[in-house]
């Protein structure tokens, strides 16, 4: 059981920034950005390349973040200059980036081998201790990212970003430049994807040109799963970061659990798709049940305290 949780942490924590980026576009902006399927690989590839060239692991992490953020900027440019929906711009980018990524990596898979990473110091530890130390470092990075993101959402710029996704016409009439915020959201979301990819690459010790496939659907599934537990809304910022953290870990727990019960790795994408469907179904039907339960308890409470209700 402990091993399942550790597996969940070491494979799930690197995905938290990635899915935070997906939440930014999917929920805060109410849009779909498929760039992440390609930019996730771009971030990992740039990070791997930097490491192979002897860059320090922290710098490689930043380089990976920047590489993926640049991909997001290109998507934003396509969206604004050619006036196509973000969905289409991202789709085109996700396909085009495959070739770009292959050129960056030069071979379909780049192994980091003996190159020093953030986690290579833990090689001497036993398996479980190494996992513990690894997840500790990852948790540190993730905590900083979540805190910084939460604080950013509280700023005037972050507030404007949240407003454009809810009511763009109103945001514009309040002087918000929503074109500029589209660029910001896409750069931020893909930068976060690159950061997560860099963590993943450093942990698993290789970068692969296909490692991004299915990221978007996994992220949406994790967000929906998180919303079942945490119920975030536009002004509840702790709940937003909490939703992403809980959703990502719950999603990884499902996958790790599926591997534990003996499913072959090839079935994991099927499990991802099923998780998304179950999360949607639970939101549709359990959500209604949850609402019913809340109404019932409220009625029961007000029935026992009729005087207070009258006073209100």
């Amino acid at each position: 059981m402990t091993q399942v949780l550790l597996d969940m942490l070491v494979t799930g924590l690197p995905l938290v920034p990635v899915f935070l980026g997906i939440y930014t576009v999917f929920r805060l902006r109410a849009d779909f950005d498929l760039t992440v399927e390609g930019s996730f690989v771009s971030g990992g590839a740039v990070c791997a390349l930097a490491l192979v060239h002897g860059w320090p692991s922290w710098l490689a992490l930043l380089a990976g973040t920047g590489g993926a953020a640049a991909a997001g900027a290109v998507t934003a440019l396509i969206h604004l200059l050619l006036r196509v929906p973000v969905l289409l711009a991202g789709l085109v980018m996700s396909i085009g980036l495959f070739s770009v990524n292959l050129h960056v990596l030069d071979t379909p898979t780049v192994s980091l081998g003996t190159v020093g990473t953030m986690f290579s110091g833990f090689g001497s530890l036993s398996g479980r201790q190494a996992d513990l130390a690894t997840s500790g470092v990852m948790a540190g990075v993730v905590a900083v990212v979540l805190a910084a993101f939460g604080l950013f959402l509280r700023t005037e710029l972050g507030l404007a970003l949240r407003a454009t996704g809810v009511n763009a016409r109103m945001a514009r009439s309040q002087g918000v430049n929503d074109r500029r915020l589209t660029v910001l959201a896409l750069v931020l979301a893909n930068g976060l994807a690159g950061l997560g990819a860099s963590l993943t690459v450093q942990y698993q010790g290789y970068a692969d040109v296909n490692m991004g496939a299915g990221t978007f659907v996994a992220g949406v599934g994790a967000v929906l799963l998180g919303e079942l537990f945490v119920r975030p809304s536009g002004s509840k910022l702790l709940r937003i970061v909490g939703c992403v953290l809980v959703g990502t870990l719950a999603y990884r727990l499902v996958l790790v659990g599926a591997l534990r019960v003996g499913l072959p790795a090839g079935d994991l994408r099927g499990v991802t798709a099923l998780t998304l469907l179950v999360a949607i179904a639970a939101e549709r039907y359990l959500g209604a049940l949850g609402g019913l339960a809340r109404t019932l308890t409220r009625n029961a409470r007000s029935a026992t305290a009729p005087a207070r209700q009258e006073a209100a």
Binding site: E156, R162, R172, S173, N177, S235
Partner: protein, 267 residues
Amino acid sequence: MLRLDDIDLIYNPGRVDEVVALRNLSVTFERGQFVTVVGTNGAGKSSLIQTISGAARPTRGRIHLDGRDVTRLPDHRRAGWIARVFDDPRAGTAPELSIEDNLALAMARGRARGLRFAVTTRRRAVMREHVAGLGLGLENRLADRVGLLSAGQRQSLTMVMAALSAPSVLLLDEHLAALDPGTTATVLALTTELVRELGATTVMVTHNMDHALALGDRLLVMSRGRVIADYDGTEKSEMTVGGLIDRITGAGDAVSDRSALVEKVTS
């Protein structure tokens, strides 16, 4: 002073589905003037509002605000000077966000938005003071989602948001249309109070002939994208609802049921 020179607003020009929203429109609004605008559906009232706010860019003509040409500025660049209240109470606020977040969004209007915190203790005090004036008890519900408020409360909040950054032009686009009679009276009282306090040039579009005659110091009648009558304060005070409707139907427009209903009630 707000000046519109020779404005044309034409959608799909030169095509079979061409729509002329405004034609050769020239109006000057003096600083601090409170102008009501009436006309049938499709007369160009909302197009006038859209053109002033920058949500629609005119096909021809210039718009000057306090001596500067703002014709090419999009709506978000004009928001520092021009505040707008929409006809749909849901349109002026962000329902998912809290009351204080909505107010904070309006407080930053006309300034560059940066990495300062949007809601601070000091700003919250300012917000509380502004909202308390409404007498709706919203000052104790600043953290509530705006989606929980009634239409009247939301429209009142939008009015407060419009006033927060002291705009020089206030645009009211049938902002009472979706409210029930009781709420209409409340928001109407709030409107006159705010307009007096702000001293902003105010353009109020309405379907209600009574409101059009009772409020403001100038009345414009629009038809088919043009201003067909322009009454100043004294002319307006001598005008009756019946006379106003005759003026509109005289231009060949059918008065809508909503306006006609008002005529029956008043006569």
